[in-house]
Each structure stands twice: as C-alpha cells, then as structure tokens.
C-alpha cells in the first residue's frame, strides 16, 4: 500500500469533532434514560395478568425487535411529521427512535431478570407474611435488577453504536461530522479510523465493567 498518512488536517477540525461527540453522547445518554425508565414500565405490562395490557406491550416489543434500527430511525424522521403534522428537531427525533428501540430490548432484559427469580422465593415471601407489593419490592425486584444490569448495560453500549445511524437523517453526531470531514479533506482512512477509535474508547470500559459485574454475580449468586 502506497499511502501517506496525514493527520495534520484533523487539527483544524477538533472543534467540529467535539460538537459531534457531544451530540453522540447526548443521543446515547438520553436514549438510555428513556430506555431504562420506559423499558421497566413496558416489562411490567408484559407481566400483567390482563391480556389487554400484555398484548399491546408484546406487540410493541416485537415491532422494534423485528425491524431494522435504520428503518425505525428513517421512519420516525420522515413519517412522524407527516402522520401527526408536527415538527420535531432531528436530535429529539433520533432520541425518540433510539430510546423506543432500547425500551423494547430493555423490557425483555427486565422480564428475563424477573423470571429468573426462583418461584420458591415467592412462596417463601408468602410464608413470611409479606404482602404481594412487599415481596415485589423487597424480594423480586432487587434480584431481578441484579441479573438484568449486565444486559441493560450491554444494550446501552449497542445503542451508543447504533446512534451512528442517525447520521443518515442529517443529525450532526460524531459519525455525521466524521463523514463531512472525510469528504471535505478527501481523507476517509484517517478520519474514519479516528472516529472508530473514539467509539471504541467510549464502549470498551463499559464492556469491561459489564464482564467484571457478570463474573462477580456468578460467584455471588451461586446457589
């Protein structure tokens, strides 16, 4: 390969990259907050004894799990304004699409956590005289959350990666800024490598932390 690497051109673009990074972090953070909160509510709906609550919740989850994220983003960006006659700024729209996608996946993580709690623990709660809400609060939830946390964090990292897809609808995130710089400077190799490194550096510590958490839980919960 006869290619002369040149990273000097990037020095003039640090401001732009920083702005892009801020948008990316904003997208990832807010989507995660949306996903963690709504995902929990959605999980409760899927565990409901009433069909009319369970069924729409399940449909919501399947819709987001069975269509590409890219399509979901594009659909929200183009179709929501047309259907509801509203204008929402691109970042909010991105957060909405990513956040709802994460809601669906997190609901499943919470649900798996709840279902991993042995049924005998419910029996024991009744035997101890705890009321249903007390056994949910003090026995089921703490255990469910512990086993759900690693999956929730992994989902959180994936949404950080997938946030790059909003570049397609001209949201000025890290990916979008990178694309503009690469095109302007005709230096895709240096630019995209740097962008990749930034995503990598953001995700790796969280991924390592998840692995550490999982190892710790395996020993703590060994029965």
């Amino acid at each position: 390969m006869n290619y002369q690497f040149d990273f000097n051109f990037l020095s003039g673009n640090f401001g732009l990259l920083w702005d892009g990074l801020k948008v990316t972090l904003q997208l990832a953070l807010v989507s995660n907050i949306v996903g963690l909160v709504l995902g929990f509510g959605l999980c409760l709906l899927t565990l409901s004894r009433w069909f009319f609550l369970r069924w729409p919740a399940q449909l919501f989850i399947e819709f987001f799990r069975c269509t590409p994220v890219l399509l979901q983003i594009v659909w929200f960006f183009y179709c929501v304004p047309m259907l509801f006659d509203v204008f929402i700024d691109p970042i909010t729209m991105g957060v909405l699409a990513l956040g709802l996608n994460l809601t669906a996946f997190n609901a499943e993580a919470y649900r798996a956590g709840v279902q991993a709690v042995p049924h005998e623990h419910l029996d024991a709660s009744v035997a101890l005289g705890l009321r249903p809400w007390q056994s949910t609060l003090y026995v089921i939830l703490p255990q469910a959350l512990r086993s759900a946390v690693p999956v929730l964090m992994t989902n959180g990292i994936s949404i950080l990666q997938q946030s790059a897809l909003v570049a397609i609808v001209a949201v000025g995130d890290l990916m979008y800024v990178g694309k503009s710089i690469a095109t302007e400077a005709y230096r895709p190799l240096e630019t995209y490598s740097l962008i990749a490194l930034i995503y990598f550096a953001l995700s790796l510590p969280i991924a390592q932390f998840v692995q550490w958490l999982e190892r710790r839980q395996d020993t703590a919960l060994a029965r």
Partner: protein
C-alpha cells in the same frame, strides 16, 4: 434400614396419639384437586393438638406437600373447612378462594421448604429481619437483637453478616428455620427440608427440629426419613391418594400397621433405606 432396626428406638408416651379430637387444627371434608384426575385431598379429615408433632408419610403424589401448602396459604382448597386455634381459618365452600381468611392466623404459621429459599441478595441478618420489620413493624434494632439471640441458639451467630451463597446446605436450612421462627409461629411446617441435603448435613438440621420439639413447638413434618419420623413424631399419618389411610403413635404404626396399604408402603421404603 430394616423395620426391625427401628424397634430399637425407645418407646414414646402414647398420650398424643390416643386422642384425635384436636382443637388446634381441624380439617373437615377438605377437598383439593389439580384438574379432574389428580385429587390430592379427597374429603380429608384430620385433627391436631397444640402439643402434636405430626409426621405425614406416604407415596409421592399422595397430597402430603399439598396439605402443608394449603395450611400456609400457598394453595387453595375447593371444599371443606379448616379451623386453626379454634377459629375458622380456611373455607373451601366459601365463594372466595379457599385460602386463609385471617391474616393474623396466617402469620402464626411458619414454613420451611425443601429447596433453599433464602434471599440471595440479603445477608443472613437481612433475611431474618425483613419480615419482622415489614410485617410485625419491629424496629431494625429490635429485629436485629432478636435475630442475634435466635442465631446464637442455633449456633449460627458467626454467620450474621454472611450471604447465603457462602453457607453450606445445612446452614442454609438452619437459617431458613431461624427466619421462620423470627415471626414466633404457633405452628411450623417442614416440607421435606432435608431431602436436598448431603447426609452429613441432614443431622444438623434434624437436631434443630428436635430442639424445637423439646420446646413443644407444634409441627407438621413431611419427610421420607422414616427413622427421623419415628424419633420426632407424636403421631404419624399415612396418606395415600389424598386420604388418611392410617394414623397412630409412631411405635404402633411402624411396627404393627393395621392397614395392608400402610404395611405395603413401609415394607417398600424401609427395605430401600
């Protein structure tokens, strides 16, 4: 162990088995089935006195565990009535659910299960004080003091701040018994509590149960350990197909069973031991 070996256990007083008119617990015509085919309590009548230690034996699916689960309020009955301490406790004929209708009475029943049911996210102390604080409204200090005293009695005081995953199977079951005792139950239910344990740990759990027996705790015990059954019971009840086939003092029932069905069962299990 063979039947002849069991005769070596010293005879126990016969007072408890002679009288069956218990005021402590009365089951009358209790009916429970799973679907149409599996009847686990078939118009069952059973009485228990406050100083009784009832051991229920019988083949699998004979309704032994169901009886305990019904008494604890974990499952409902579809017919008959149960009185507890002279008060109506469960009414299977009522339009409700055939579950305990009196919360206060229900909290006077404690239960220990076959599988370890200690909550893994709480320490031993956390497991012990949860219900006393949330159900009986004890302060943390009061509950902790009580837990300390109870664990000391069971030789587990050093395990106060340990998590269940760090305990042996026998220790887990002893803590589970302690957790149930924290609520000062009038009746303790033991559902095959030693079945999942290694042999050397069985004894330590059985010793705790014997300690409770000495303190005159009323108990209903479901077990497959006939030797222990004979040792701890004031009355043994043999159930099959949801009915009480025979009941009596352990010495009588294990050595001279009246019913052929009981004899057949005992021959099977005692020879297998």
């Amino acid at each position: 162990m063979k039947a002849s070996n069991l005769a070596a256990v010293p005879p126990r007083p016969l007072h408890a088995c002679e009288k069956h008119n218990g005021e402590f617990i009365q089951l009358r015509d209790v009916y429970k089935s799973y679907g149409e085919n599996l009847v686990v309590m078939d118009h069952l009548d059973l009485d228990m006195r406050a100083d009784d230690r009832l051991v229920i034996i019988g083949p699998s699916g004979s309704g032994k565990s169901s009886l305990l689960r019904v008494m604890m309020g974990l499952e409902s009955i579809q017919g008959g009535t149960i009185r507890f301490q002279g008060k109506p406790y469960i009414d299977g004929n009522a339009r409700g659910k055939g579950k305990p209708m009196d919360n206060t009475l229900q909290t006077q029943v404690g239960m220990v299960f076959q599988h370890y049911t200690l909550f893994p996210h709480l320490s031993v102390l956390g497991n012990l004080i949860l219900a006393p604080m949330k159900v009986h409204g004890l302060s943390k200090a009061q509950a902790t003091e009580k837990a300390r005293a109870l664990l000391a009695r069971l030789g587990l005081e050093s395990k106060l701040n340990v998590y269940p995953s760090q305990l042996s199977g026998g220790q887990k079951q002893r803590v589970a018994i302690a957790r149930a005792l924290m609520l000062e139950p009038k009746l303790m239910l033991f559902d095959e509590v030693t079945s999942a344990l290694d042999p050397e740990m069985v004894i330590e759990v059985q010793n705790v149960m014997l300690q409770l027996a000495e303190q005159k705790m009323a108990m209903i015990i479901v077990t497959h350990d006939m030797h222990f059954a004979r040792h701890i019971a004031t009355r043994v009840v043999f159930c099959a197909n949801g009915k009480v086939v025979e009941q009596g003092h352990p010495d009588q029932l294990f050595t001279q069973p009246r019913e052929p069905r009981t004899r057949e069962f005992l021959e099977k299990v005692l020879h297998l031991d």
